[in-house]
Amino acid sequence: MTVISVTLHNEPFNPLALLAGWEASLPGLTGELPAALASFVGRVRGRSTCGAPLAALELEHYPGMTEAQIRRCAHQAGLSHQALALRVAHRVGRAAPGEALVLVAAAADRRGPAQRACSELLETLKHEAPFWKKEWRADGTAIWLQGNTSL
């Protein structure tokens, strides 16, 4: 049984502080501190998809469904890779370049399951959790992104 924790953030969050807090909580959640931990942090780029300076990235989500879908993705990744615990934090609202967009972390008994669970969860949530990104460019124009960047 994988312990899953998901949070959405309307304001900037510090992914490394969240990661440290989550790791500290793991002995209480899983019975002991897991031997392997893998994590990924994604941040807002300084440039738009067409290379223009980016003023901000707006993230829209579907309250309720987004959280439920992330949990479904995490449940599947945990089952597939025997992860002991999974943590997702995701930004919503308007974010500035450099601010954290997403934290995904996986704890497991060995490095392979931790890395694979983290990677699978990140990729599935990018495609299965309803988020939409709107790029606000420095010249005041804006465009909705149609899908994800390449891996």
Binding site: K126, F131, N148
Partner: protein, 81 residues
């Protein structure tokens, strides 16, 4: 039959609304509901393959039979993470 219809992203902006209760008596599936909404969006009546459907906050087929009170969402291409 009343349906709670929700739009997101560029669909929401183009329609000019995010959520409405609509009469779905003549639109018993999301595909037929889209055809009725397409005029608001200025889109053709055929549901584009890039638009996904959710019924009661779960992904669903466009041919799903809808019931009174269902929440139907049309979702543009997802770009999370």
């Amino acid at each position: 039959m009343k349906l709670r219809v929700r739009l997101f992203g560029d669909l929401r902006e183009r329609a000019g609304w995010a959520e409405r209760w609509l009469d779905g008596s003549s639109s018993p599936t999301p595909r037929q509901l889209w055809a009725a909404l397409a005029t608001d969006l200025g889109d053709p009546p055929t549901l584009p393959g890039r638009i996904r459907v959710a019924v009661n906050q779960q992904f669903a087929e466009p041919s799903t039979a809808l019931s009174d009170g269902d929440e139907v969402a049309f979702l543009p291409p997802i770009s999370g993470g």
